[in-house]
């Protein structure tokens, strides 16, 4: 159980795909101007990465190493296309808001990376957990960024005004410069947190060693 929890949870912060691995950065900046967009993108990616991990872990035995990458990409692209079709049919407004980035989910490095690094070597259940964990980490990051950006950049959360009438939104936050700078500091915060955790773990280990 613990092992499973670890597989799932490492994607949240320790190996957060955006803040730590620095993969799939484009959507983290492009579609986080509002919480709803960020959330949709996060969920879409979670869906794609989880499904793809499962698919890959199932078919991994039959895939010729020479065409591994194209096959995985085909798989991802299929899943994305399905997501596109579904969104287009049932949530056309969101589909429009995602714009070209929805199609670009195909090439988000994190998805292929998890397929290559994890799913192609592990069983279905583990791969599912890994994909889901990474997806959650991704969504978490998207939400964090989106909440801050929407809050300061528009003064709203999910479109609901928070600061009241007098607030003059700080437009920078929803424009590229603000997004870059904000993520810079979030990365630093995440790193600091990780370092603290590691230090704690090391101390605990030392203590355990001494007691033994």
């Amino acid at each position: 159980m613990k092992e499973h929890w670890q597989i799932f949870s490492k994607g949240l912060i320790a190996e957060n795909p955006i803040f730590i691995l620095a993969l799939s950065l484009c959507p983290a900046l492009a579609v986080t101007t509002t919480v709803i967009n960020g959330l949709t993108m996060g969920l879409t990616v979670t869906f794609v990465i989880t499904t793809n991990n499962v698919v890959v872990s199932i078919v991994r035995k039959w895939v010729n190493p020479k065409v591994r990458v194209p096959v995985y990409i085909t798989s991802i692209a299929t899943i994305v296309t399905v997501a596109q079709l579904v969104l287009q049919a049932y949530f056309p407004v969101l589909y429009k808001a995602m714009g070209i980035y929805l199609a670009l989910v195909v090439v988000f490095a994190i998805i292929l990376a998890r397929a290559e690094v994890f799913a192609s070597k592990n069983g279905v259940w583990k791969s599912f957990l890994d994909g889901f964990g990474m997806g959650c980490g991704f969504t978490l990051a998207m939400l964090t960024i989106a909440v801050i950006r929407e809050l300061f950049g528009a003064g709203t959360i999910l479109g609901v005004p928070v600061f009241g009438e007098g607030y003059e939104p700080m437009l920078m936050m929803i424009l590229p410069p603000g997004a870059f700078i904000l993520i810079g500091y979030l990365v630093a915060a995440c790193k600091t947190w990780n370092a603290k955790q590691e230090e704690k773990a090391r101390l605990a280990e030392l203590k355990a060693g001494k007691e033994a």
Partner: protein, 186 residues
């Protein structure tokens, strides 16, 4: 490396098989969603046009003018919905303009733009759009004088966007006027 792994046929087949499966999956999903999507799209289009000309009963395409629709009520074209385009602060602004049969603006909606959120994109807001209602081409110029109620008041901090949108709307109105003048009413 066994020669087997290198076999051209095998490799190609592998990829092709993946594509085959993918085709089946996409095909079946498409089979389900395509009609829904088409229906939704149509609905949305109708709805957006309806929002522009609420009293219309139905919309028909205008022959010879791509993208134009005539809003009909009781079999009579009471308004036209005309696509228009102009250059704003951040690039192209695409919009749909509803114009009455006697070449007055009813309303417009912006389809695509790249204006700054909070500035140029306020053009989509009702406060700005309301100023256009009922105006003819001659009144469609931008002013920065707050006392001037005749023309279109520039949005604060976004004169460029204001001018762009106004220009787009004016062009649509002029196009309708020209169409009418040609006797387009048939």
């Amino acid at each position: 490396m066994s020669s087997n792994e290198h076999s051209t046929f095998k490799i190609a087949f592998n990829l092709a098989a993946a594509c085959f499966i993918s085709g089946i999956v996409i095909g079946s999903v498409y089979f389900v969603t395509a009609p829904v999507a088409a229906q939704k799209a149509e609905e949305m289009k109708q709805e957006s046009m309806k929002a522009l000309v609420p009293e219309a009963e139905h919309f028909t395409e205008v022959a010879g003018h791509e993208g134009w629709f005539a809003a009909e009520k009781g079999g009579k074209a009471i308004a036209y919905i005309v696509p228009s385009e102009s250059k704003g602060y951040g690039g192209k602004i695409k919009m749909l303009v509803a114009v009455t049969a006697d070449s007055k603006v009813i309303d417009f909606s912006i389809l695509e733009h790249n204006e700054t959120p909070g500035l140029g994109d306020n053009a989509q807001k009702p406060e700005f759009r309301q100023m256009f209602a009922g105006k003819g081409a001659d009144k469609l110029t931008v002013t920065k004088d707050p006392a001037n109620k005749e023309n279109i008041q520039a949005m604060t901090g976004a004169t460029i966007s204001s001018r762009a949108v106004t220009k787009g709307v004016r062009e649509a109105v002029e196009a309708v006027a020209a169409y009418k003048a040609e006797g387009g009413a048939k």
